[in-house]
């Protein structure tokens, strides 16, 4: 009712003001936006009197530009504040009225589930811990991303190739879950030191490098892996008990500045069971016994590695150069030993006799931190019962194809996410019963489960099946957890307990607290910030060696994920994510960000920045790096990224016939000078005046995300090294710019302040909401007023994240249904 009254009032208002406001636009806009060649390729007449399907985008653009103050531009502006408000009201109401009249369909077409969702859904339908250590889904076609999102229906597509691979992959999962035949015997494998072997993942090592003794071997660096020669691959699916005797060696002999391994980090041994990974902290002293008890599928490879991002700081990052640390250490700490090696061993060496510092002489003296392995045992397969419990949970104790309907029904209900499955199940029951004669009961039921799982009812999310409440539970579950809804969620939805904003908020809070929303907390920021692109143009390894050698890209991605997770769990206001004064850093990032007082380890901890330059997404290395080239930075790339991902503005790409000047790092011109064309050429300026100011602010951040006051000295010749010393030119950075609205900033500190104005905060919230809808719906949200309503709801809760997400879920765009009139009372 409130809405209706509001609309009535609005109509009256608009009726009165139409002519006045069109006159207002004519006065203030038509000078530039008229004629055959209007500014920005936009002529006022295109708006006509009211929005229609063709010009709606122009109306929305006009509204956004007047709202932000970019239009009319400051130097031409003669509009009073009151007039601006009046114009904003007018444009806005016109857009809302139009959308109210048109009423786009809310129903979202079904889409293929992506590989991530498939893995989770199979896990939950089949009630197993994961799809299997034999990596049955590794052969699937990769999912293509749309603006970083792997949930976009049109981009995901569906083809014969997909279906073909699903049949094979899902059959593989089932074969490792439903075991036929006699119970396999349990065996014991003794793995003494002689049966431990070391190999190199890059296949380059000519001989084993393992510091082998009669009782132990060692993992020297991150490229090596150990395996058991008598148990390389799991022979039979079942539960296995693996025991490994290991110890940490020489944890703190070398300085962490030399090894790149922080003193605060534990030394770990990583056990790889296919793609399932288990990490164990090792300590120095007595050997420890590590015990694993795991269900492993036949065909699973077993490997042990030393997980570290260190030991790559010297030379080109290949491990051998690290042996020079041993040279330096002995030279400084054990002159007697040093003298002996240099006078006795080096002269007898086959290579590099003239150079005692060469790494080749010191391999036998390495005292870097490393795991030492003594022996292991493997026992299995074990089965608590036969057939195994995971099988009887699906089929019952003594499955009979005659009962196929009853056996398959609960599986179909989980897989298809609704209860009325009888009719659709009928052909599948028939299949099972026909096949039972030749295949037997268990195998034929397996065929039935396969049919359930390659059916579009499973593989497509959101087909038109079940009750609207079932579909809502499904959608919410895929949004939060990327998997099929559990029984509790479906029951709650069907009982009408998820119908209101408060109920949705309660459900959201519960899932965030108990881990149910972990998938959203991890995958949404990854998609939103397009973190997949971080190394598309990695910083040049020669100029920014730390970035490559310590895999800083991983730290940068983790910064985003820690920060986002924390912001959600603390339920902070959405705008704080953009330009708040804190973030999460570890020792690696502290080096890039030049921070003092950060603990000497890899753990991410909250850090408050006091210089006004960093904090929130705008200060994060991930954003600054993925928008930069490998040698230089581009204010345009950064501006476009900020506009598209934070401001919700889609700048139009340059026209096809524009000739783009190739950056020339040989000359001493700055990027700003190169981009002068954007100001002087009228056709460029029309768009770039609005784009560029979103990017210049970040010029103080280099391609690896570190602060700089000057551009890297450039040389005019081809040989960098000689030129750098002689006539190198040092150019200071100018990170100032002004917007068309007249707002100016002199550097990043000023820009960040500007991002905290009410208009920009609202833009950011709106953008966040749109991205959430894109993630949830797999389609761009085009309904301006519905998004507007979500932002309004968010503002009623100080833009807090949880309430904002709840408002998204409670919106007609997510529910795919307009609220019943009664609910607005």
């Amino acid at each position: 009712m409130k809405i209706l009254l509001g609309l009535l009032a609005l109509c009256v208002l608009v009726q009165q003001d139409v002519s006045a406001d069109i006159a207002l636009m004519k006065t203030h806009c038509s000078k530039c936006h008229s004629g055959a060649d209007p500014e920005g390729d936009f002529n006022l007449v295109e708006l006509k009197q009211t929005p229609d399907e063709d010009n709606l985008e122009d109306w929305i653009q006009s509204l956004e530009k007047v709202k932000s103050g970019d239009m009319p531009p400051a130097d031409e502006n003669r509009m009073s504040t009151a007039e601006r408000q009046q114009l904003i009201q007018f444009l806005r109401h016109r857009v809302l009225l139009h959308e109210e009249r048109v009423r786009r369909p809310l129903r979202i077409p079904p889409r293929r589930m992506n590989n991530r969702e498939l893995a989770n859904s199979l896990r939950d339908v089949l009630m197993i811990e994961d799809v299997g250590t034999q990596q049955p889904l590794a052969m699937l076609l990769g999912d293509n991303l749309y603006k970083g999102f792997d949930t976009h229906g049109e981009t995901l597509g569906f083809s014969e190739y997909h279906l073909d691979q699903y049949v094979t992959a899902i059959r593989n999962v089932l074969d490792a879950t439903i075991l036929v035949g006699d119970r396999p015997a349990t065996r014991f494998y003794d793995v003494p030191t002689a049966k431990l072997a070391i190999a190199d993942t890059s296949n380059r090592a000519r001989s084993e490098q393992a510091n082998r003794t009669a009782t132990s071997i060692e993992l020297l660096d991150l490229k090596k892996f150990a395996y058991f020669t008598n148990f390389k691959t799991v022979p039979t699916s079942g539960r296995y008990r693996i025991k490994i005797r290991a110890v940490a060696v020489d944890r703190h002999v070398y300085d962490s500045e030399e090894t790149g391994i922080y003193d605060g980090d534990p030394l770990q041994l990583r056990v790889h069971l296919g793609d399932r990974v288990r990490d164990f902290d090792l300590v120095e002293g007595e050997p420890q016994e590590l015990v694993l008890d795991e269900w492993l599928a036949a065909g699973t490879d077993l490997r042990l590695t030393y997980p570290t991002d260190g030991l790559r700081l010297r030379g080109n990052g290949n491990f051998k150069f690290q042996y020079r640390i041993a040279h330096d250490y002995i030279k400084a700490n054990d002159p007697e030993l040093y003298r002996r090696v240099v006078t006795e061993e080096v002269p007898r060496s086959k290579t590099r006799r003239d150079n005692p510092e060469h790494w080749v002489h010191w391999t036998g003296y390495w005292q870097g931190p490393r795991p030492r392995l003594f022996s292991a045992t493997v026992e299995g397969p074990f089965y608590a019962a036969w057939p195994p419990q995971r099988q009887t949970a699906l089929l019952g104790i003594a499955p009979d194809a005659a009962n196929a309907a009853e056996i398959l029904k609960p599986i179909a209900r989980r897989a298809w996410r609704h209860d009325q499955v009888d009719e659709q199940l009928a052909p599948i029951v028939k299949l099972v019963q026909t096949q039972a004669e030749t295949l037997g009961d268990v195998e034929s039921l397996k065929e039935g489960i396969l049919a359930i799982l390659v059916s579009p009812s499973f593989l497509l999310i959101n087909p038109d099946e079940g009750t609207p409440e079932d579909r809502f539970a499904t959608k919410l579950s895929y949004f939060l957890s990327s998997t099929v809804p559990n029984q509790r969620l479906r029951a709650a939805s069907n009982a009408g307990k998820l119908d209101s904003f408060d109920e949705v908020r309660g459900e959201l809070q519960r899932q965030i607290a108990d881990g149910g929303a972990d998938e959203l907390l991890r995958e949404f920021p990854r998609a939103w910030l397009q973190l997949d692109r971080i190394n598309f143009m990695a910083p040049d390894p020669e100029r920014y060696p730390l970035y490559e050698k310590k895999s800083i890209n991983e730290d940068m991605v983790n910064e985003v994920l820690h920060f986002f997770r924390h912001a959600v769990r603390e339920n902070r206001p959405v705008p704080e994510m953009l330009a708040g004064d804190d973030s999460f850093v570890n020792a690696d990032l502290a080096k890039i960000y030049e921070l003092d007082g950060v603990a000497n380890d890899s753990i991410f901890r909250q850090h408050t920045f006091t210089d006004g330059r960093r904090g929130g997404f705008l200060g994060m290395g991930a954003f600054l790096t993925l928008t930069a080239d490998s040698l230089g930075t581009s204010p345009i790339h950064r501006a476009v990224y900020v506009m598209e991902n934070f401001m919700g503005i889609e700048p139009s790409p340059p026209p096809a016939d524009v000739k783009i000047e190739e950056p020339d790092v040989r000359s001493a011109t700055t990027i700003r000078e190169v981009l002068q064309a954007h100001q002087s050429d009228r056709s460029c300026a029309a768009c770039h005046q609005a784009i560029d100011p979103f990017g210049y602010a970040f010029e103080n951040f280099d391609p690896a995300g570190a602060w700089r006051d000057h551009y890297q000295p450039v040389s005019t010749g081809s040989n960098d090294n000689t030129m750098r010393k002689s006539n190198a030119v040092v150019i200071p950075i100018d990170a100032s710019a002004s917007f068309m609205s007249g707002a100016e900033y002199s550097d990043i500190v000023g820009f960040r302040k500007m991002m905290k104005t009410r208009t920009n905060q609202e833009r950011f919230v709106r953008c966040f909401v749109s991205k959430l809808l894109l993630y949830a719906n797999g389609i761009e949200a085009e309904d301006y007023s519905a998004v507007d309503a979500i932002v309004k709801e968010s503002s009623r809760h100080e833009y807090r994240i949880i309430e904002t997400i709840a408002a998204v879920i409670d919106s007609p765009l997510f529910r795919e249904a307009r609220p019943a009139v009664a609910r607005s009372e």
């Binding site: 079904p110 293509n144 569906f158 073909d164 087909p463 080239d629 096809a656």
Partner: protein, 439 residues
């Protein structure tokens, strides 16, 4: 399978010497009378080689037009073929600048705008494979190392995942199953076929109840189901037939596995697959992420080299990478040219339409204009270096060339996606009907 009467011992493609048995279904069933009616029996093939970042223009496009051009640096390894290739200057798909649009290389259509075209953004290789694929074991073969460049798109607008591992490609093309494995394979195909039939029935029920908004996506599923069922029945036929034998071990004899010998292996396998008529359409992509540091003089990443800021040493690295790509192509074409066409006149190269190019003009400027495009072989009367601009100086839509290529394969069309005409490249009339179906 009946032995072919025109079998001959060939040494062309390195590796174990085997008697190439023509694979095609047409050949296996054709009687000798039909076989006598060569040369129209010789199949026409299509090879596409592409890269993601275009070519450094100064080193790719010759300065002179016509046949008397001087080969620029990147093209030098193709100098031996200079009379039998056509380099097209000033073609494009009318795309805006930037990465991501190179996926339209073989169709001129981006995935996001594909809804406006009847065949969506289906690539030309798939269109040709649809014509030539019915008679061979594999309608098309797609290869790369590491990561594909999304060149090939099917009629549903989904890109086709290439083989990224030469060993897996080998198994796919040449590995024969034991009798027992065949038995298992046959059974599995039958079981999977029954599952698909059942899903089809269940799907019919869903479809009956579906709302109109759902129909389009359900159509996609329906097409997939239908195509896969047909595919299963084809596979059932092929499971019983032997594949030709082939040996690529020479490329992996050295302990060092380089990019060069991996690409050599890929090209050799494709050459042999052509020779034995396993397939008639193949694509090879040069991956964007691949580390080309095996190639002489290259120390940086491929993508980083394209953004060289005109720095001389980095430009040189880029040109080394691009020359490497062309020399790989050249090596393959030379081999094809040394083998007489098994069932026709001339060499295999004369019966293989070769297209090299990229959907990006030059990565350094992110330009998608002036695409680097080269056509070789295929029995065309080649033209050397051609300026394709029209009288008013506008670039030619690359789709015009595709119209010509489609016609070469006997696909009678005068329009393909964004084409405005055809590119005048003629071919010998005796090959004018190369894909005639045996009656």
């Amino acid at each position: 399978m009946k032995k072919q009467h025109r079998r001959s011992l060939l040494k062309g493609l390195g590796g174990a010497l085997t008697l190439p048995l023509l694979e095609s279904a047409a050949n296996s069933t054709a009687d000798s009378a039909v076989a006598e009616s060569a040369p129209s029996r010789a199949p026409l093939r299509f090879l596409v080689v592409g890269n993601p970042f275009g070519m450094h223009p100064d080193n790719f496009f010759p300065e002179q037009f016509g046949k008397k051009y001087r080969s620029p640096k990147t093209l030098q390894s193709l100098d031996w073929l200079r009379d039998r290739l056509t380099i097209l200057s000033h073609t494009d798909h009318g795309m805006k600048s930037g990465h991501g649009r190179e996926v339209a290389f073989l169709s001129g259509v981006l995935p996001e705008t594909s809804a406006a075209f009847p065949e969506k953004n289906m690539s030309i290789d798939q269109l040709i494979a649809r014509r030539t694929g019915g008679d061979v074991r594999f309608p098309s073969i797609h290869t790369t190392l590491q990561r594909g460049i999304r060149m090939s798109w099917n009629a549903n607008g989904v890109d086709i995942k290439p083989f990224t591992d030469p060993q897996r490609l080998f198994d796919h093309l040449f590995l024969n199953l034991t009798e027992q494995e065949r038995q298992v394979r046959r059974q599995l195909l039958k079981r999977n076929g029954s599952v698909l039939d059942t899903v089809g029935e269940q799907f019919a029920i869903i479809r009956r109840n579906a709302s109109p908004t759902d129909q389009q996506r359900l159509d996609q599923f329906a097409t997939s189901l239908r195509e896969l069922e047909r595919n299963f029945s084809d596979r059932t036929v092929w499971v019983d037939r032997d594949k030709p034998r082939f040996d690529i071990s020479e490329h992996f004899d050295d302990s060092e596995v380089t990019i060069a010998n991996r690409y050599n292996a890929i090209f050799d396998m494709i050459g042999y697959a052509f020779q034995t008529d396993l397939t008639r359409v193949a694509t090879v992509g040069f991956s964007p992420d691949l580390s080309y540091t095996d190639v002489d003089g290259v120390t940086r990443g491929y993508h980083a080299c394209t953004h060289n800021g005109k720095k001389e040493d980095i430009v040189n690295e880029l040109v080394s990478i691009e020359s490497f790509q062309i020399s790989q192509l050249s090596r393959c074409l030379k081999k094809l040219d040394e083998i007489p066409e098994p069932d026709g006149d001339g060499s295999m190269l004369d019966h293989t339409v070769v297209l090299f190019g990229s959907g990006m003009g030059y990565g350094g400027t992110h330009s998608n204009r002036d695409l680097p495009i080269l056509v070789a072989g295929g029995g065309f009367r080649h033209l050397g270096h051609v300026d394709t601009r029209n009288a008013s100086g506008s670039n030619m839509p690359l789709c015009n060339l595709y119209v010509t290529l489609l016609q070469r394969f006997g696909i009678e069309r005068d329009q393909f996606n964004t084409s405005t005409g055809r590119f005048e490249l003629n071919f010998e009339s005796e090959h004018s009907n190369p894909t005639a179906q045996p009656s």
